[in-house]
């Protein structure tokens, strides 16, 4: 039963990262295109799906709370200020998204809110991952780091890395969903972003070596781990190749591949720890009676239903976004 919920959690986190990742990425690319028509085109490409993407974040929190309450309690309280900032950024970004099309005088204000919200939310997610890799200051399973115990140069570096990563996904989505100027813009950016991501990974790798992060030991212990970086390298090559051939969907899929490889790498280097290297899955899991109770309704019915709905939405809105978007 615990395995089921670990898998469900991994799946919902992965879905959140790639789905909200691309629309946050589009939000960050937004200021780099000059024309109003281009901007509307970009917004129209994510309009039908962005807030559906965010529901996965709430489901992540929900599964953590019910099935791994110790992790929920420890992580959310340790990341107190950044988490609230992220929520405020996401809410503000959503409101800005709705309102920019309805106002003329305040458009620049809403645009700024949309862009800044995207950058802040992404940065905090990256910092969270970085802080977990770097290890949170915990003693006997209790967080002892104070308000800024999560902040380390390494974590901040990961925040920047995720900026690049989400922008890569965003650009990939744009080559698939848009045409003409915006698509050209995205094709132009993709190789640069890819180099940026690779540069980040190299820097992160060597800083991890330099900092003697315990995560590195697990790599020496488990050589099988190298399967994931290898798959990642393959996905990078696929991305370069598909951009040079001007394939429209493939860059986005390659981007997903890169994220899958990265998540697989992290998951296997953490496992069986949920908060490395203090709290394991077994430490954190809720009692069997909680897991079973949640399984029959949420795991077996509601989760698949939400998955199917997500697929239906993406199917309904497949194909190119029209250049003259309807309500914006």
């Amino acid at each position: 039963m615990t395995e089921f919920w670990v898998a469900a959690l991994a799946l919902t986190i992965f879905l959140y990262v790639i789905l909200d990742g691309f629309d946050l990425g589009v939000g960050m690319l937004f200021p780099f295109i000059g024309s109003e028509a281009g901007r509307r085109h970009m917004l129209a490409a994510i309009a039908p799906v962005w807030d559906g993407n965010e529901t996965w974040l709430v489901l992540n929190a929900t599964i953590l709370f019910g099935m791994f309450p110790v992790v929920y309690a420890t992580l959310l309280s340790a990341f107190y200020v950044p988490l609230f900032l992220m929520l405020a950024a996401l809410i503000f970004r959503g409101v800005a998204f709705e309102f920019r099309g309805k106002s003329t005088r305040m458009r620049q204000f809403w645009d700024a809110g949309f862009v800044v919200g995207s950058f802040v939310a992404t940065f905090i997610q990256g910092v969270t991952i970085g802080a977990l890799v770097h290890e949170l200051p915990l003693q006997d399973g209790k967080y002892v780091g104070g308000p800024f115990g999560w902040a380390s140069p390494f974590a901040l570096l990961c925040g920047v890395g995720l900026w690049l990563g989400y922008m890569l996904l965003g650009a990939g989505w744009l080559t698939y969903k848009t045409t003409e100027d915006v698509q050209k813009f995205a094709f132009r950016l993709l190789p640069k972003l890819m180099f940026g991501v690779l540069a980040f990974l190299v820097v992160a790798f060597f800083s991890a070596l330099y900092l003697h992060l315990p995560v590195m030991h697990r790599w020496i212990d488990r050589p099988l781990l190298f399967v994931f970086p290898l798959a990642g390298i393959l996905a990078c090559w696929l991305l370069f190749w598909s951009v040079s051939r001007r394939r429209e969907l493939l860059p986005f899929l390659a981007g997903i591949g890169i994220f899958a490889a990265a998540m697989g790498t992290l998951a296997i280097s953490f496992y069986p720890y949920m908060i490395p290297f203090s709290i394991t899955v077994a430490d954190a899991a809720a009692p069997y009676s909680s897991q079973v109770f949640f399984f029959w309704g949420a795991g077996l019915v509601a989760l698949p239903l939400t998955l199917i709905y997500t697929l239906v939405v993406y199917f309904v809105f497949k194909g190119k976004t029209s250049v003259e978007p309807l309500s914006y």
């Binding site: 709370f65 107190y80 405020a88 503000f92 309102f99 009676s289 949420a298 239903l305």
Partner: protein, 475 residues
Amino acid sequence: MHITAILLSRIQFASTVSFHIIFPSFTVGLAAWLTMLEAMSLATGRPVYRRLSDFWRSVFAVAFGLGVVSGIVMAFQFGTNWSELSRRTGPIQGPLLGYEAFTAFAVEASFFGVMMFGRDRVPRWFYLFSCFMVAAGTTLSSFWIMVNNSWMQYPVGYKIGANGAFEPTNWSAILFSRVVWVRFPHMLLAAYLTSAFCIPAVGAWHMLRGQFKVEARTMMRMGLGLAAVLVPVQLLFGHLVGDYTHDLQPTKFAAIEARWHDEQPASEVVIAWPDVARERNDYAISIPYLGSLIGSMSFTSKEVGLTRWPRDQRPPVVIPFFTFRIMVGCGMLMLALAWYGTLQLARGPIEDQRWLLWSIFAAFPLGFIATLCGWYTAEVGRQPWAVYGQLKTVDAATPFLTSGQVATTLVLFAVVYSFIFLFGTVYIYRLLERGPVIAEQPPIGATNPKRPLSLADDLDPITGAVTAPAGRVRP
């Protein structure tokens, strides 16, 4: 008072949850109202029901959106500010609140979109069914919330496991606890009554302005008629909630009654100023015997007073004492208005009874005030416990939070929420002001079911001006 992180966390939780509850308490009733309108329209074929259903659907969409947005923060706050609570009660509260989130998303996923955009695209019976499913979904959401909160009021079906965590041992005891099945109907009726007074208020408003007379009369007749039946039922359930409180949460009951010392037979304090420091009431007006009658249905029973418990186990008295009385006062006003209004409506046109129309219009906040006050009574009355008798609020908070951290997020969310609230209220106000004009169906793809705010597309949130597209005529 010393400003501690815990005090600020409590203020933060209270203000975000108070802000949030406004919207669900409105939309739960509205969803049922829309279902009823749709059924009436199908049964009678009268166009007025169709016009009303189109009108209230757009209001529902905006209120629903605001409820979802303001609810997101709630999903995180247990972990951020109340990490000890979530660590220890997560095995029970987590799945219950998880079911709430999953229910909301699954219903939203399947039927909300049909309700918003499917009017002309699905058979009418299926449309009615979708409305019903949305109403059932919002009701089910409130059920999970009430199960969870009732467990905090009266914890059952658990054992204390390792590290002090509450482990569920009997889910049916949790789901079918006696407390759940009086508090859940009490909350559901509160939501229905909130809508049942907002709807006639909008009718009265338009009638006062001399427009949409048919619709206005229908709104008043249906809303007040429903309230005339439901307010007495609500009073009954309120009494049952009082009964369980008397038996299972005696400290809360004594605080509501402002009863400091054991009394036999007990009198009922109607109104007073409770003096906590001196453990007595100033300026009290009391009725002898009534306290025993209310508490135990007898004229001789002994009723317990707060001084039985040490001070650190007593709830605050002033807040539950007054919020309870405000809630009951709202209930009495609602009863009078519902009965009198229904009677007048049955006797004929009320267009010239301006003062009655003004009263119905002015009554729109009664349901909100009563609901909020009821929650304040329940939650403040539970103190100093987070889980009654088991886990104190001071032990439930995140131990290492500093008041600076909480103050920062409190200000941040005060700003964000006021902002959303301001724009949301302007939206709803403009929609209500426009009245039940014939609206066009939005083209599919122009908006999507998960973005209800985008339905109010022709309202400029900055100027608040209604830009009427061609074909839409304002009377």
